[in-house]
Symmetry: D2
Subunit: 357 residues, 4 copies
């Protein structure tokens, strides 16, 4: 289902080559000042065509807010945002099952009725909707002293081991056009360049962090911060792995290393490390929330690939021509940030509004 | 919230040292023959005390089915299963914030009212409820030719690179007491032994696979098979990472390697590889569903750790005495299998029951 | 929250005097042929200005489908429908708490941030969205031999005791411009005329029925057909009562009268009466589903009313000038039908899609 | 599905003649003192055998709390309450489709697998679970100055026109064993007596009211207070109608009568009447929330009724012997109160817990 959230409700709709894509988000508090230019800036961070490795498709991604706002403030009613597909091509989908795309599984599910032009409802273009909703969530959160940052942790095997040290460091990373340390950025660029030269593509890892989330946000079990955020992040096309804190690395180390020591710092309970990514038992402990998402390489490549024509069930080769990202990871940074922002907002909006006795 | 699922609804309740833990699962079809002995066998696979590295706590985990079954068949009403806490100790929780446990975050959320004896509602003991529900799900699925298997992929840095080749191979792995290849099992055992000798613990990775899931199961976006399964698996205490197919490894390789070629095999569309873990665009493609979950090391260790006494906000050291697993990973295999089974069942139960025109 | 449904998900958004109102419905099967002209015809039945008692507002209610359809068929992705507010007046809401409107409660909830022009998100205009979604649901249902009909059961105290006898009778009623028996229609018209002459308004009762719903649809408890349909119908502004079958009248009679006898008819289990409205224990029994919704009189009246100006907390009188319906009941018939259609479709779409063993 | 609520989650399970019935409620705040004796007193109000018109079945309804409570306080984890079926008879259900019962529809849904002994999961006995959860909700609400009261508004056509005037009046009504005005109580008793003498049964109407609900609780559309409460109340077996405020009576009157005038009283916005039942646009306005539920007569009657034996599809007569209520309405008062309490609590728990900027 295309509806997400327990306490806020996000609905998304639209196809890559349809009339428009859009989203409606309900549950934002009334009276929140929303800066639409900030939404646009976030959209620009995700938009293609701003770096040499991204698709040449011209997406203005111009946002139209149809409801839920008045005089620059949220009204409490659902906010619908629409993005017209101005650059939509009329071209038809020829039925080829493109390896790595949803064509195969969609054929099995929808029996040929799905609109697969440009990936249709499965297109990465729909992540613009997450960025849209996330840009609003970020503004609501910032007013509660919660800030979200993101960076490129790895591309095509080039890992940026130089993690930001503190919020200041994250802020400067995050505002950069290519949020990675200089050295890693060079390796990553090389990985993307050689992939593009080889008519190939590369994936990578995006890391996002939420500073300022108060302790006590989240729930044990199925509404754990991890469950909520993972259900959001795995809805991003191309994400195949999600980890919190030290994540998979915890499988390699000892409890005495993995457990974050608990200390008093500036009069408050704190920890010198954050292997738990700010989440214990599904609930925030006041440390920064840290999440990483692994992106598979863009499946659209010009290299020849083996596939099947389902019309006559014959094998054939396919070369996917056109405007493709050699790597979507740089553009995915604001998407993962948006996913984290929405997740934190959903959990922070949980319950008990009227209840304090 | 302690309720999970879109099409089946699983509710869990209970605390480690309370009267009982239990679960209710709704949405199972009526008329399903359920073998309670099979539930018990699955519970035994998770129960502690069956290997030298697990807690010595004697949990009979004897299951009592209170509702939803008649004469061995599901009735269509919710099935409630109860497990009495026979071995519960009356001891009280002394308020220490044990590093790596939920004590810290729970204190912030519940203000000291949570029952944290033995971990309370956050205890790994509650995963017995997932195994309980999962054992029913497995039987329902098996009747639809869907089978779930699991294995230990890594413990304490010892990786089992020898992945099962096919369903036959998985079956023999899965039925083993220690489902890993012989060589890897030896390294894993050493890792656990030395950790125990050091009053320490280790984590690891569990892999589970679902064979026979038809194509077309799942949805794009928020009800993707990945979102659903991740929301379940991240509710398992100690899980800090989840990946599907080749997962995080996809971040290191090229699109031409990561894309699974599409071929005709035995007259059907298939693929020689399965980097996508049987899921494209959130929807199954008919290949096996493959998921891995990373477990952090057991946080309860006897080694001295720095912590805080929240009563007087002073730092102190703590050594956690008692019956602890040096590694919970072997016991976690049936838990991850159960989580996958429930996720697949939830997605396979989706919609349109009466609808075929 | 503005999202409804367990198995289909309907999201609505928009305000009376905003840019547009819209809805997204997810969970419709793929490959359903949808006749957009039929949607328009249903919208016309609800649109104002077609009878002398309705608002003079010119609503073209022209529908724009933005997603989820291709070549006249559903694709399986969410269908977003948009209705532009061409006739929106730019006038502002002056803050008066109009008796019977949501102004009072919205002020308390949203602290003055709600867009209350023309009723804003609370406006009856948003019921066009239910009709839009319902018109699609009806087409999906008709293909499964389920048909929905509606009639005016009462207006301003004038009751139409002459209930349709069978599906044929319902069909001819339903297709009429004023779906009531001739005699009752005359009394109802008089009630509306005199109300209008008195600068007043009247309410009434709408009845809807679903023929062809197979037995076994619905669930006990919270997903009972009654719970689902009531949760939908009570979301219609002005609805203050909902009853199924003989409804409140059952409070006056004996069990021996109220129980529907069970007989064999044409080889199938049937009943000569239908006091239960086709629902026993929350589940359909194969008889027609019968529901009635009570509408309060239109709160917008020109008669002078006592109210409060919240700006200075003084009492004052208000007369609501403008284009108001003396009675919305005739226009509400397709809305109640739509609510019933969506409810039946949601319940019929429940679970177990892949499950038959 | 047997799970209810957006912000609290109530799961119910069990069958009339099974081992036990139970419920789990999640989302209650931690640190709430819960008086178990008060739960027992509420259970006693619903229990049969306390008036001459109720079933002679001896239900001790003794409650066992398995989780979520410690030292008399809620812990924040789900509270599971269990009621053993001590008086369960081992007798089997003979397959007769009892008119007015769920036997017919359950047969169609569950194909003979449902446990229909004593009504099984459809039994009115399960309403004890709502009373259980409701008794906790009432205590949580009372601490926030919200109080719930109930009365018998009608039985078998005998209407109590003498509605309580204010909260004081409601309180004295509510604490009475037979909460109706003296005169009406006499008529109601006669209706029940003659029905019993005729081996028949009668239904009636229960009214409940919530005093002290702050303005601004609820949402427009699908999470309206009316939608939420109706979805709960229609899950009570035998309820076939629900109305708020003046309800169906509003269909007979003019807007000028139905609109509640808005005035200043004691410095606050108030109204001399409450036809809207404290709800405008789905949101509370600070006036008492008023709801009425219509109960059909108990379907179990000794009078001979026509029915069908599905085994051989023959018509036959049935007389339902045994311990039956001639009228369940007096016992239903605490059930409706519980339903209203849970609904108000769910809506008051909505969102924005951490959000105040």
């Amino acid at each position: 289902m295309n509806v997400w959230g327990n306490n806020i409700k996000l609905s998304v709709f639209g196809e890559s080559h349809g009339i428009a894509i859009g989203m409606a988000v309900d549950g934002l508090p009334a009276g929140e000042s929303i800066d639409v230019n900030e939404i646009r800036r976030e959209m620009m961070r995700r938009a293609p065509g701003h770096d040499p490795f991204s698709s040449a498709r011209h997406e203005t991604d111009d946002v139209e807010i149809l409801s839920g706002m008045k005089d620059g403030f949220t009204t409490g009613a659902p906010v619908c945002g629409l993005i017209r597909n101005r650059d939509a091509r009329s071209g038809d989908y020829d039925g080829t099952l493109r390896p790595g795309h949803a064509d195969w599984s969609a054929l099995l599910k929808y029996g040929g009725y799905a609109d697969m032009r440009g990936g249709g409802h499965f297109s990465g273009r729909l992540t613009a909707l997450l960025v849209f909703a996330g840009a609003m969530a970020k503004q609501v959160l910032r007013r509660r002293r919660v800030n979200i940052y993101g960076r490129i942790a790895a591309i095509g095997g080039a890992v940026d081991a130089d993690s930001p040290r503190d919020e200041e460091d994250w802020r400067s990373f995050s505002s950069s056009r290519f949020p990675a340390s200089r050295e890693a950025a060079a390796s990553m660029s090389r990985a993307m360049e050689t992939a593009r030269a080889d008519k190939d593509s590369v994936g990578g890892v995006v890391e996002a962090v939420a500073y300022g989330v108060p302790g006590g946000v989240g729930e044990p079990f199925f509404a754990s911060l991890e469950s909520i955020a993972a259900s959001m992040l795995f809805s991003i096309p191309a994400v195949k792995g999600v980890e919190f804190g030290a994540g998979f690395r915890l499988a390699d180390i000892r409890g005495s290393e993995s457990n974050d020591a608990i200390v008093i710092k500036d009069g408050a309970i704190s920890s010198p490390t954050n292997n738990c990514g700010g989440i214990l038992g599904g609930i925030s402990n006041g440390m920064p929330i840290v999440v990483r998402a692994a992106f598979k390489p863009t499946p659209s490549i010009e290299k020849s690939q083996r596939t099947v024509d389902p019309a006559d069930m014959t094998e054939k080769n396919t070369e996917i021509k056109g405007r493709h990202d050699a790597c979507i990871v740089p553009r995915a940074v604001p998407v993962v940030e948006a996913g984290l922002a929405l997740s934190v907002l959903d959990c922070m909006s949980a319950g008990r509004g009227f209840l304090p006795a």
